[in-house]
């Protein structure tokens, strides 16, 4: 079966989330656009990665897709149907989330067995207790935990083990999409590989779809099928992993890839030096959000916001990399 015949599990269309911030006694509230117009779909058995630097809106997007927060614009569709908050409880089992911090996200006062069972108690109250327990034990085995762990408390486990508990808890409702918000960032390298292997295994066995959020491009390169690069709440590039990594079109993507250290001491570094800072999310300039740091910025970039353009491999840039640059008056990247 080709991808074209698969039906997406989740589709986001122009999904947005604004926050009202500030607004103390003497200042008027401002609007912070944490996610602005995100569109994508996730297919069964596939991994869509969201990458970008701190504050670009990755976790906000995760909360929208997991129906923890209502979008302020756009639509989220599950199984082809647009979702409203009244559907949330019935759809909860389709999309589940695993958070970054394996310490903070588990209730330390409960035993492991109960932590994993809890979503069933809440969402499947009609399921007999014996069946719930059997399901929990089955899931524990699936994520590589031992039966005797059932009665232990989370504090008795290492970071990697706790992340297994979190994954088990997310899987117990048999979701079709797992949102993974920096699932391995807090883990040591040797544990990271165990968890990545587990995720790869589970995906193959259960045909799970992943929305995989990470700032670590070497991890994304290993697990993703498709990639979206975000900058200040907006997608600036999207495409298949191969397209985005081998042939980045947005200058920001190119800079991000070049700045990621490679574990090869013989490699020659060709880092692109960016000028300037990320603008404040409360004060995003009117044109391209990357304009202030871009080495080929033109007047047009400051005046007008480029749309995310292209067939499958899309970029939001008036002067994308790899385009016929001869006619455009652009500089080349300031490489060190």
């Amino acid at each position: 079966m080709t991808d074209a015949l698969l039906k997406p599990i989740v589709t986001a269309d122009n999904l947005s989330r604004d926050y009202d911030v500030g607004g103390g006694m003497f200042s008027k509230p401002q609007t912070l656009s944490a996610v602005a117009g995100a569109s994508f779909s996730v297919l069964p058995g596939k991994t869509l990665a969201i990458v970008g630097e701190s504050g670009c809106g990755k976790s906000t997007l995760a909360r929208l897709v997991t129906m923890i927060e209502t979008p302020t614009g756009g639509t989220l569709s599950i199984g082809g149907r647009a979702v409203t908050p009244s559907d949330w409880s019935s759809l909860r089992s389709v999309v589940q989330i695993v958070f970054q911090n394996p310490y903070g996200s588990l209730n330390l006062r409960h035993r492991v067995g109960y932590i994993i069972e809890e979503p069933l108690i809440i969402n499947r109250p009609d399921m007999p207790k014996a069946e719930r327990v059997a399901r929990v034990r089955e899931i524990m085995q699936l994520v590589g935990m031992r039966p005797e762990h059932y009665d232990r408390y989370p504090h008795m486990f290492s970071g990697g083990q706790r992340q297994r508990i979190a994954i088990a808890r997310a899987l117990v409702l048999e979701p079709k999409l797992l949102v993974l918000d920096e699932p391995v960032s807090a883990l040591d390298l040797s544990i990271q590989s165990q968890i990545l292997n587990l995720l790869i295994d589970l995906q193959e066995r259960l045909d799970l779809a992943y929305l995989f959020i990470s700032h670590d491009l070497s991890v994304v390169r290993h697990v993703a099928d498709d990639v979206i690069v975000m900058y200040l709440g907006r997608a600036v590039e999207s495409g298949s992993k191969e397209e985005v990594f081998s042939n980045p079109r947005h200058p920001y993507t190119k800079a991000l890839l070049s700045a990621t250290p490679k574990a090869d001491p013989r490699g020659t570094s060709t880092r692109i030096r960016l000028q300037g800072e990320l603008p404040s999310p409360l004060n995003i300039p009117p044109g391209c959000p990357f304009a202030e740091r871009c080495w080929k910025v033109q007047d047009k970039c400051r005046a007008e916001r480029p749309a995310l353009d292209g067939d499958h491999h899309k970029a939001a840039c008036f002067f994308p990399e790899g385009a016929a640059e001869a006619s455009a008056p652009v500089a080349s990247a300031p490489v060190a």
């Binding site: 701190s54 290492s158 083990q161 574990a263 570094s269």
Partner: protein, 331 residues
Amino acid sequence: MSDPTPLLRIRNLSVDFTTSSGLFRAVDGIDLDVASGELLAIVGESGSGKSVSMLAVMGLLPWTAKITADEITFDGTDLRNLSGPARRRLIGRDMAMIFQEPMSSLNPCFTIGFQLKEALRQHLGLNARDRHARAIELLEMVGMPDPERRLKAFPFQLSGGMNQRVMIAMAIACRPRLLIADEPTTALDVTIQAQILDLLTGLQNDTGMTLILITHDMGVVAETAERVCVQYAGQKVEDQPVIDLFDHPYHPYTAALLAALPERATERRLPTIPGTVPGAFDRPTGCLFSPRCRFADDTCRGTQPPVQPPALGRARCHYPIGATTPQKVTQ
């Protein structure tokens, strides 16, 4: 390393913490020479004693820590029994450290300008105008936008990444001869990280500053370090020039660590290291890595391994990888 008088010399450094359940050994018999002008990286799992060993050198551990060492010298000065005033003259000026948690080392009650200038006043005795100019210069060096205005900011008014850069500015304020940077870029985005690493390696190149970089990021190690020490469960298990370490790790732990890097993966499934680091209660009698090592035999489980010669990466291992014959040292 061939340098006859290293800038920093450590012999048999151990640190034990008094805890409610007894003594806990966080650092276990570390030997280390760092030559003047060198850029050394220390890597290892979380909890392997990277921070504690360097805090011990700086004399910055709490009283619950019991430090023992046969030698800790900085440029010939014995750091173990230094008087208070002598230590204060050295620490913060000739030896400086960037701490892993930037917020814990900035005072929330004072502006960053005040804190920077105070460091300059104490150690360099500059006048007010020079202090102001130098403070701005330092913030520019660490890539802080709008430095003049930022001097008036309190730490809580800046992002985590900006505070981290203030910490770096404070650490390099007095042009230290030795800078210990403990995960200096973990809270930073990669584009800013690149800028900070350039700054630190630039200082090392231009001023001959010695840099010890603690990090868990093997990419950062590969791109910046000259030499690498690998720590495991409080011990140094390997010590090699960076290229040699990536080409030919001798300790099975180092080899397993490098194999676990996603970018070195040849298949979809990554190589893993089974099990976890030993804790206070399951510390093995022999090699500390033996419960997780696929080459371990009864010798490894029963006897502590020797430290191999430099040609074998100073591996703390009975059977360094690729050594032609088992390198058993019988004393």
